[in-house]
């Protein structure tokens, strides 16, 4: 695994963790994990690596991606971007656009425009 890929995973892991915990505040952990599962399923055909996301009652993690060093992951940045976009679009239906936008802005501010 190239250093750049590792960096991308680390950067997005922090972002996903923040997104997960913010969503769980409003939706609860079960609905949040269901939302993650839905988005993973949607993207898994195009980006098989998304199946390596680990999620459960404790939160979300990219650890399995980081340990699979022998595999080369293409389009990681694109995969994470698509994940975040799709996630937020469903979140908007659940929380209303206003609150979803609040969460998106908060994440953008904290992660310096990563999404």
């Amino acid at each position: 695994m190239e250093e750049a890929a590792k960096d991308i995973i680390v950067r997005y892991e922090t972002l996903l963790k923040e997104m997960w915990s913010e969503s769980a505040k409003y939706l609860g952990t079960l609905s949040t994990n269901l939302l993650v599962e839905r988005v993973v399923w949607e993207l898994s055909q195009e980006y098989p690596a998304v199946r390596l996301l680990k999620y459960g009652p404790e939160g979300i993690s990219c650890a399995p991606m980081q340990v699979n060093e022998e595999k080369s992951f293409n389009d990681l940045e694109e995969m994470f971007m698509r994940f975040v976009t799709r996630y937020v679009s469903i979140l908007a239906k659940l929380l209303g656009h206003e609150r979803a936008e609040e969460i998106r802005k908060k994440i953008i501010t904290e992660f310096g425009g990563a999404c």
Partner: protein
Amino acid sequence: MANNLLLTLSVRYWQEFQDTLSKVMDANIYIFDAQGNPFSQFSLPIELCREINKGETVTDSACLDFYRTTFNQLKDRELLTCPRGIKLCVYSLGNYMQNLGYMLVTLDTGTAPFDREKEMVLKAKAYNAYRTINEVLSALLEKNLLGLQRLELNSIYEISRLMTSITELDKVLDLITNALIIIYQADLCFVGLRIGDKIRIAQAKGESGHLLGGKEWALLHPVIERVFSQIEPSLLTVDELRKLTGVSHLEVSSHTEIILYPLWTALGIVGLLGIVVPMSLGENGKRNLQIYANFAAVALANATLVSRLEEEAKTDFLTGFLNKRALGFALVEELQRAATYGYPVSVIFIDLDDFKSYNDTFGHLAGDVVLQKAAEIIKSCIRVTDIACRHGGEEFVIILPGTGNENALKVAERILNSLENHPFPHRRITASIGVATSRVGDSLDSLLRRSDEACYMAKKMGKNRVYNNN
């Protein structure tokens, strides 16, 4: 076709496959989705199309209008000429049960005239492309549906398990609606609970969810009556949905599927579950959702029962005020809040004068009427944020959050005068009222005791008066 319930398909991978097929067949292939929207890009460079559409995708409105009209009238396939003069073959993709989209095939000859032989070549190539693409799509669809069903069933299992173990009504309502929006990509999802002869929308999520919350529909409304006249779910048209009270302005696309599930348990109607989805759920989807609805009915029945019992456990039946048990919790909570935010809490202790003799003289039924009327009067003298409790017998306690001693005294005087001036049956009713305001370090017991002592002092000093213990 890009991302819907029927087929989750990667456009990029599809394009690679389509381009390869185009090269092998030496024909241009182009795909539209089931709604007539462009899905893929031109596989072979047809200069005229590129020029008109300024790229590889159909964007020109005249072209789009032409194709959509063609798709609407198309049965299976058709050979035609586009408004720009290009001969093309159009096929409907999918099967007799489900339309997946449309395929266009052209030869790379632009607008050059077609003879009989060329037409036969186009038809043959289009047929072969159709057979290949349709088989690939069917296989993908099957795989997708299996994936979705796995997701659906897993989610239904997990949620049903959780739903029946949660007794907080709000949480159950949230779980039901969240899951349906996520699993089925619903535009709108709502749950109505039965309250008497009405269905009241207790939770609604999705695009226009905020417009539905709190709406009440009579069980005798023809649409609702139809929903509950059968065990199976009812499919509604947009017009039928809009006939329901308060939702005439609801924005729902005419292509959506609107399904209402009646929620029943052995005890009767619990409520209804409504879902508005952009694409048909199909028979399997509806059956899976029925399982979900059955669990939802049980979970809602349990949670509603618990919620009612909790409400009854803290309410005084005669006056509707909080009872003595709930008073303790409420006052502790207010004292904690007051300590955190640094504002005062006052307590007014009210004891109706000589109530025992009223009961003994005019009977307990008459006494109950006085208690009810006194509660009404007290309620009319306080703010909605104040908390009224029946302490027991003819004693009432009012908690006034954020109210200092001076204002609490004014409220107490208002109650005193209102009771004294009200024409109660048989004789005048007065009260002895004690007022106490919280001090630093006050506990539930100390504050309540000081207000009680003040009330006692008011009684001792001749009744029908307010005594301030500050």
